[in-house]
Amino acid sequence: MSALRSLLLRREAGILVMIMLFCLAVGLYKPQFLTGNNLRVILLLTPLIMIAAMGQMLVLVARHVDLSMGSILGLSAMVTGMMFRDMPQIPWMLGFAVAIGTGALLGLINGALVTLFRLPAIIVTLGTLNLYRGLTFIISNARQVDRQYIPTELKAMSQTSPIFGVPSIIFIAFGVAILAYYFTMHTRVGRQVFALGSNPVAAPLRGIKANQVTLLVFTISGALAGLAGILYASRWGFVNPSNTGAGFEFQVIAAVVIGGVSINGGVGSVPGVVLGVLLLGCVSAALPLLGIPGAAQNAIYGTVILIALLIDRTVRQQGVLGLRRLPA
């Protein structure tokens, strides 16, 4: 009983309950929401956000923020897409190295600006959000990389895979989540990220190299945004200088925060973030199904995020079903 109780008292339980209630409510109204086919729709909406959310989680846990993720995604995707277009003979797998490398470099620049000049991350990444987007326009001459240039094998990754026909990018997303889990829970530097965010003043007193850890989390965040960039090309089959990754950072931050990562640093878990991403996926899948007009979807989406945060806060204080207030 006490094991069940402590399980229910975990933050993740609250998000899980929210997901179930939401799906049940939508399912009662539109039964097709609860079908396997729709599950596939939900899962296909989430991989890019899931991957980027793991990076954003690290940055937030270290008590920083990365607002430039959408632009890193866009620039990495553009660099990779142009390579596919202009050098069609090179192996398509090399695209992953290029996208991840570009993203890592852009993230490293963010981290360097934050540590070298002691600037707040929110300002630095707001700046690079625009800078990287601008660079995307400059290098592409504001031209889209069209569908025919994206390698077929890459596009196929979003369609199917040898394993039950589930698209490969979903496996990649969960693979990244598992790596992130290992990194945060079982590597020394992973724990140092939490220590740094929990008490930035004390961290150096305990021999934590705060600047290096900060550089690392921004670089990882950038690399994962870069990975999300090439998967964008896989999923949508094109790279557009203005659309690709635009507004992406807000979805990512929303998912991470719903997933229980504190913007004050030090707190966050991979299972929580995965659930936060899935909740957002459910909401995104439900809106068109419920016949909510496109114009209203953004407003509804934002409202749902706020409600989720409010419920989460209540659950954190009182436990699921008020369990925290009951005697043990």
């Binding site: 992973g190 220590a195 150096p204 007193l205 305990r206």
Partner: protein, 512 residues
């Protein structure tokens, strides 16, 4: 003390500090201190606030680097460059409110920073938890090592720090006022552990204001005063009266005394003011034209009383009467309307609006006068502030420059000016001259005297005894949240105030 301490006198000292001096921004806070710490002794550092004992402790622990001087550990000279180096050398400083990582578990807090392993080496959770439990058992404390540090009481957090010192096999454990936030039972537990660590041959430095505790626990004491070491003695050599004399024994400086003023009707009266955990049953009154000094050690609850009267953190029970009428003060607005003014202790945090102009700072407490219909009238703002700047002689380049650019003394004058615009009946000054140059101080004392002469009631909180003695008509002393003494000016002395201020003064009566 017999036993290990006596035995070790012939040994090389664990720590041998020579000629330690420290300057902060050109101000000398520690001057040429020599001090030996023996193996297996508990050594108390005593002194008034700002005497230099904490600075010395922080130098040993690598938090500060000394400006000059050397430290030898077991006879070998060492560079304690930072706290990590200190830890490796076996020196641990335990802060009064321990520095920890509140979101991480107790076990993680214990090991953090100790490992030399690489970034991506795995975290040995099972071993870590096992080791942490073993340490807690060794200390005989019942702390769940898997829970986050956040939920622990301060006493338990201190225990975790001690456990951390043991985990790295520290030979020197420095405790900076560890008992202040503890209950008597927790203090007993701490002392039991300290004695056990001593018997294992570890050295403990114990910083405290409580003479009774020092006497109960320590083998030797070193007394600091104004950045100098006054002397090191075995505790049995000194009576409590000796210790107090050594702590405050500076010559009384020349202070301008408060002019004789006409003492009028009671302006502020508090009765049985209580805020549990902060202060209890505080009753006193201040008359018009009177300056009442409130003395005591830092943490005695003086500021809390002031904040309660001004409505910042109101008392839970008790009554406040202003000019004989019972007052309900729930927030500072109420207090201001009743004619109260409060110059807070922490100027940078609670006093000034750093980036706003001097003018805006001065007129901040009278929004209705500068903006009668909600729009600021620059001419009124200018007129009011320039008058105040003149009368208090605030030195500045322009009334429109940010107040943060002024010196501490002139900032303080501007804050005083702000409150004078509200024409207060009662003025509460909390450490008004802290961090202010001597010259400006004297000027400040004149202003305070003039304010009393103009018929205002003044409550002056100060840790500087000469200041209290020079300015006050009466002096109240607080200790551990209670009023412990009241002296008319003629009867007060530094010794008397200090005795009343040192907690658990019962034993002091016998010693004196």
């Amino acid at each position: 003390m017999t036993g290990p301490a006596a035995l070790s006198q012939t040994q090389v000292p664990l720590i041998s500090a020579r000629g330690i001096s420290k300057q902060f921004a050109g101000v000398e806070v520690l001057r040429d201190v020599d001090l030996d710490l023996r193996v297996g002794e508990i050594h108390a550092l005593l002194g008034e606030n700002g005497a230099g004992k904490s600075t010395f402790a922080k130098i040993l622990a690598g938090v500060h680097r000394p400006t000059t001087g050397t430290i030898a550990l077991n006879g070998e000279q060492v560079e304690v460059a930072n706290p990590v180096v200190a830890q490796r050398l076996g020196i641990t400083l335990i802060h009064q409110e321990p520095i920890s990582f509140p979101d991480l578990s107790v076990a993680e807090n214990l090991v953090l920073g100790r490992s030399e392993d690489g970034w991506f080496s795995p975290v040995p959770w099972a071993k870590m938890t096992r080791d942490a439990r073993a340490l807690m058992d060794l200390l005989g404390v019942d702390i769940d090592v898997t829970q986050p540090m956040r939920g622990l009481s301060i006493a338990d957090q201190q225990m975790v720090e001690i456990a951390r010192a043991l985990a790295s096999d520290s030979r020197l454990i420095i405790m900076d006022e560890p008992t202040a936030p503890l209950t008597p039972r927790e203090v007993e537990t701490l002392f039991g552990i300290a004695r056990r660590l001593r018997s294992e041959g570890r050295t403990i430095v114990f910083i405290s204001h409580r003479l009774e505790e020092v006497r109960a626990l320590c083998d030797r004491v070193t007394i600091f005063r104004d950045g100098n070491k006054v002397g090191t003695h075995t505790i049995d050599e000194l009576t409590d009266a000796d210790i107090i004399r050594l702590m405050i024994g500076r010559p009384l400086k020349e202070y301008l005394h408060k002019p004789r003023t006409e003492i009028g009707a009671v302006a502020l009266e508090v009765e049985n003011l209580t805020l549990p955990g902060r202060f209890e049953a505080i009753s006193f009154s201040v008359r018009r034209g009177e300056i009442v000094g409130l003395g005591g050690l830092v943490g005695a609850g003086r500021t809390d009383v002031a904040r309660a009267i001004f409505g910042v953190a109101p008392a839970l029970s008790g009554t406040i009467r202003i000019n004989g009428k019972q007052a309900t003060i729930r927030e500072p607005d109420d207090a201001i309307a009743l004619g109260l003014a409060f110059v807070p202790e922490d100027r940078a945090q609670a006093g000034i609006f750093r980036s706003l102009s001097v003018e805006q700072n001065i007129t901040a407490a009278v929004p209705a006068r500068i903006a009668p219909r909600g729009f600021i009238r620059r001419s009124v703002e200018k007129a009011l502030s320039s008058e105040a700047i003149r009368s208090l002689r605030v030195r500045l380049a322009s009334a429109r420059q940010p107040i943060g650019e002024l010196s501490g003394g002139n900032q303080q004058k501007a804050i005083l000016a702000r409150w004078l615009l509200t024409d207060p009946t009662v003025l509460i000054l909390d450490e008004p001259t802290r961090g202010i140059d001597i010259g400006v101080k004297a000027e400040f004392y004149d202003r305070i005297g003039e304010l009393a002469a103009s018929g205002r009631a003044i409550l002056l909180i100060s840790s500087e005894l000469p200041e209290l003695l020079a300015l006050s008509d009466r002096i109240l002393v607080m200790s551990e949240g209670r009023l412990t003494a009241e002296f008319p000016r003629a009867e007060a002395s530094q010794e008397k105030i200090m005795k009343a201020a040192v907690p658990r003064s019962a034993t002091l009566g016998e010693a004196a």
